[in-house]
């Protein structure tokens, strides 16, 4: 057991969660929302409430069940060992794929500073692989170092995005927002329905606090708090920044901007400041990739600790980092990145990224349902039980809707991957079943 100085603090874990959630998604969000108009801001009401319900339930799981294993451990409470394995397996796949996609996006944004990266499929691929290994090596220093780097790169989000949520109001013009309200004259219900998919999955990643249970100081207290604070922080920043930006930049301009945060800073201050903001956003994006590579390795380690993944994933170095597992993940991701050189494979990869959202959401449902058993085992009072069940229903409904909205192609792919998972577990299950003793065997076969 590593000593606590090599572990993550509450602050480190909270920033990890917030940065993980925002990732590269926040960079384009204002543009996507502006295409529908400011009316799309109403969709935050649904998605923020739903996501807070999920975060709250995960936090409750963490309060009453402090064991290591994150989502998989919560799942096992209700769905036993096979649940643990399937949850880890789906979540691991989700992260392995999604992290490659985040790396591709980050390289895409870097082209503003290194134009060579944008000159074709091969430079893009080289940049992506370089970034994957950079963020893998940076994790070799263990959770403590990862947390410290994360605490630095988070300023890449705080300054441009959170900063805008505060100082942006000095340049905010209500009439600009009013003009941007509904430029396509859609009925309100239709506009909201179209906007929900823009923000529905923006909160994926809140579970990364639970996945880091092994690597945190005082997990019983810090994991639930980081999950709640991280999600709340992201929600506040999301809502404020996407609102204020629509009151500064006229809708028509915002709707076709490929770097909305840079644009707003260039408008307020100067193009130079806009460029700096873009650089900060890229830094935050790389920081979030670092956090996700860490979470990926932790997920594999916790599962290997349970004898459900290859043992090599659980070998840690003196800094408490599962180095061998990280290298294996890096190789796997390099192969995925290499495959995107061909344009056909690149199109296939984007389907894989949609599938990854599905295999991220199924573990939500298995883990959330674990809360019912966790509360039963912990013997919580009737009042707490009833309260949590209400929130749980909201959280599950939201997760199911997010799953449904992924679309039939992604859900079908996810289901096939799930079915393969059952096959894999079939080979593992004997590890957890007592072999019949010699006496019984003889008794059965006289």
């Amino acid at each position: 057991m590593a000593d606590s100085s090599k572990k993550m603090s509450l602050m480190g874990l909270t920033t990890l969660v917030t940065v993980n959630m925002m990732g590269s998604g926040i960079i384009m969000l204002p543009t996507n929302m502006a295409q529908l108009g400011a009316v799309s801001l109403l969709s935050w009401i649904f998605t923020a409430i739903g996501s807070m319900a999920i975060a709250y339930c995960f936090a409750q799981c963490g309060v009453f069940c402090a064991r290591s294993g994150g989502l998989s451990a919560y799942t096992e409470e209700a769905h036993s060992k096979s649940g643990f394995f399937l949850c880890s397996y789906l979540y691991f796949l989700s992260l392995a794929i999604a992290n490659v996609a985040v790396a591709i996006s980050a390289v895409g944004y870097m082209t503003a500073f290194l134009p060579w990266l944008g000159t074709g499929a091969i430079p893009l691929c080289v940049g992506t692989i370089a970034l994957i290994w950079l963020t893998t090596f940076a994790n070799f220093g263990g959770p403590g170092i990862t947390g410290k780097i994360g605490a630095f790169t988070v300023w890449g989000v705080i300054i441009p995005v959170a900063g805008l949520s505060i100082i942006g109001w000095f340049w905010f013009k209500p009439d600009v927002l009013a003009a941007a309200w509904n430029p396509n004259s859609l009925p309100i219900s239709e506009a909201i329905a179209k906007a929900i998919p823009l923000t529905l999955w923006a909160f994926l990643g809140m579970e990364s606090a639970a996945q880091a249970t092994d690597a945190v100081e005082n997990p019983k207290r810090n994991v639930p708090l980081a999950c709640l604070f991280g999600t709340l922080g992201a929600a506040v920043v999301y809502v404020l920044s996407t609102t204020v930006i629509q009151g500064i930049i006229p809708n028509a301009e915002l709707a076709k901007s490929s770097a909305p945060f840079a644009l707003v800073y260039a408008t307020i201050f100067s193009p130079m400041v806009g460029n700096i903001v873009m650089a900060l956003a890229v830094m935050a994006c790389v920081g979030s990739l670092l956090g996700w590579q860490f979470t990926l390795a932790q997920t594999a380690k916790m599962t290997a600790d349970q004898n459900l993944f290859l043992k090599l994933f659980s070998k840690v170095n003196s800094m408490n980092a599962p180095v061998v597992g990280m290298i294996v993940c890096g190789v796997l991701q390099t192969l995925m990145a290499l495959s995107t050189i061909s344009p056909d494979a690149a199109a296939q990869f984007s389907k894989l990224v949609s599938l990854a959202a599905v295999t991220n959401l199924i573990p939500y449902i298995t883990a959330l349902t674990g809360l019912l058993v966790i509360m039963h085992k912990a013997g919580v009072s009737q009042a707490i039980y009833s309260r949590n069940v209400v929130v749980l229903i909201i959280a599950i409904t939201y997760s199911l809707y997010a799953l449904y909205a992924c679309g039939k192609d992604a859900v079908m792919g996810g289901t096939l991957v799930l079915a393969v998972g059952y096959l894999l577990y079939g080979f593992l299950a004997k590890r957890f079943t007592e072999a019949p003793s010699a006496n019984q065997a003889r008794a059965g076969n006289p």
Binding site: M21, N32, A98, G108, G205, S257, P343, A410
Partner: protein, 301 residues
């Protein structure tokens, strides 16, 4: 009559002078009969509709014009009628018809109200379709959008490959109806895009081939023809989707109902006899059920 004689004379003179060009133009049949020549006007560089070949011309529209010539021969009893091919330019095509320099403009154009003030039109001979050309390696969201689907069907989350790279440029010929249409559509198309205008099809296609624009909107058959040309860039494709339709027809002189009736009769017969379908197969990309339905709409009973 209380009108003084001088005034009447002046009025009569003015009337006679002002109607002179009209009268001159209104006798296409008379002109053909007296000169034994039928002058076909055409745009020399608009294959597969009309294309210059020495002092003659060929193409879908030329073949239909020759059907009109045949009709003239039989109706006017002029078996030795000479067919003369006269190339015109886009800028003088209307005046060439209205001033009687040509008897008919074979190359089809969309009948607009503005043009109808100067000249008249036959029944439609073709349905122009607004289509789009892209590179073979066009990004999937762009193709989805242009095919009328949602740009990205999957979930939008932190791992969605960024749209920031996908800043598309559309191109179209300056000042056409297409330009307004694209500006209107761009917002709801769901990808980030800007619009540039070009002078002609050649230029637009070159922009896309060179990667300076991502999609060029123009008439489907013209695009097809440009791309099939020898030496054309090989990295382009035309999408099947037709955004807007517009029937196009041949220009004839205004106030010459007799000639117009003869042209429409010849064209309607060509529709019914299957001649048009054959010409479609020869010059254009063949027919389909929709096109055949339109044949019956256009041909007069």
């Amino acid at each position: 009559m209380n009108v003084p004689f001088a005034t009447t004379t002046r009025l009569l003179l003015a009337f006679a002078l002002s109607t002179l060009p009209l009268v001159a133009g209104a006798n296409t049949l008379e002109r053909v009969r007296s000169s034994h020549t039928f002058t076909l006007g055409y745009l020399p560089d608009l294959a597969p509709f009309s294309k210059q070949e020495g002092d003659k011309a060929s193409g879908y529209a030329i073949d239909l014009c020759l059907k009109v010539a045949d009709k003239l021969k039989s109706e006017l009893g002029l078996p030795d009628l000479q067919v003369h091919y006269q190339p015109v330019t886009v800028s003088d095509q209307v005046s060439a018809v209205s001033q009687g320099k040509v008897d008919i403009l074979c190359t089809p154009t969309p009948p607009t109200l503005e043009r109808r003030k100067m000249i008249s039109y036959s029944i439609p001979i073709y349905t122009a379709g607004l289509s789009v050309v892209v590179r073979n390696d066009a990004a999937e969201p762009l193709l989805n959008v242009l095919n009328g689907k949602v740009a990205n069907t999957g979930p939008t989350w932190r791992a969605s490959i960024n749209n920031g790279l996908a800043n598309h440029t559309y191109a179209t010929i300056e000042g056409g109806v297409t330009e307004d249409w694209i500006r209107e559509q761009m917002r709801l198309l769901g990808v980030i895009a800007s619009l540039v205008t070009v002078a002609n099809n050649d230029e637009g296609i070159k922009l896309v081939a060179d990667g300076k624009a991502d999609a060029f909107f123009s008439e489907r058959m013209l695009l097809r023809n440009e791309i099939a040309k020898e030496g054309a860039a090989k990295n382009l494709m035309i999408l099947d989707r037709i955004f807007e339709y517009s029937p196009v027809a041949m220009m004839v002189d205004r106030n010459d109902e007799d000639f117009r009736l003869l042209v429409d009769t010849a064209l309607s017969e060509a529709y019914y006899s299957g001649f048009v379908e054959k010409a479609y197969n020869q010059y254009l990309d063949g027919t389909n059920p929709t096109v055949k339905k339109l044949f019956r709409v256009y041909a007069l009973p």
